[in-house]
């Protein structure tokens, strides 16, 4: 019974991984690719890890269970943070949106951040020039 549930979880996770990577290869710009790939692959890998945890419970290996649960929690916390940071960096470094996009809610905030960065850069330069 436990083995069957674990195999179903692993299969569902594999399907999510595959569709996320198809999205990564097919969608038109960085932001679309990031959201498709990150959401699907995070959930898919967490499902695989839960399946492996149940498998460890089934074969009586407590270490495998605990490690798989730990790893699932860690991926669930860190993978969206990493993708968010990369998308923020992509927007601030000027990667354009897809031409079919209808709204850009981050543009005003990005202008603020850019002007702040420019100000910091001039302050650093003045500090470097004064002896």
């Amino acid at each position: 019974m436990l083995e069957t549930i674990s195999q179903w979880l692993i299969g569902i996770g594999l399907a999510f991984d595959l569709f996320g990577c198809v999205g990564l290869a097919r969608l038109p710009d960085v932001y679309n690719r990031a959201q498709a790939a990150t959401k699907c692959v995070t959930l898919g890998t967490c499902a695989i890890l839960l399946g492996v945890a149940l498998h460890g419970l089934g074969v009586g290996s407590a270490a495998m269970f605990v490690k798989a649960i730990l790893c699932a929690g860690f991926i669930l916390l860190t993978s969206p943070v990493g993708a968010h940071a990369i998308c923020r960096g992509a927007y601030l470094s000027g990667v354009p949106l897809w031409e079919g996009s209808v709204e850009d809610a981050f543009s005003r905030r990005a202008e603020d951040i850019r002007s702040k960065q420019a100000k910091e850069r001039t302050v650093h330069r003045e500090e470097a020039e004064t002896p």
Partner: protein
Amino acid sequence: MSGLTVFNQVAFSVLLVSSLLCLFRIARGPSAPDRAIAIDILGTLIVGFSCILAVWTGLEYYMNIAIAWALISFVGTLALAKYLEGRTYDA
């Protein structure tokens, strides 16, 4: 050949196809953030690979590899993002 071996082989093939799609995006991606995202996703897929290996071979230490890979992949992704943020778009 038992049913469990076939299941693991199918799981490995699906993960391999997903990794090939990621590699396609790394080779093809028009800008640097595309490649950074694809590398991040490839790291998460490798965690899945080690889990399937742990089930297939019955060796527990593959789970240690998965945990360590997830940690290091996160640090690398944050470093790439920090590098992208202070850089103008030039490709």
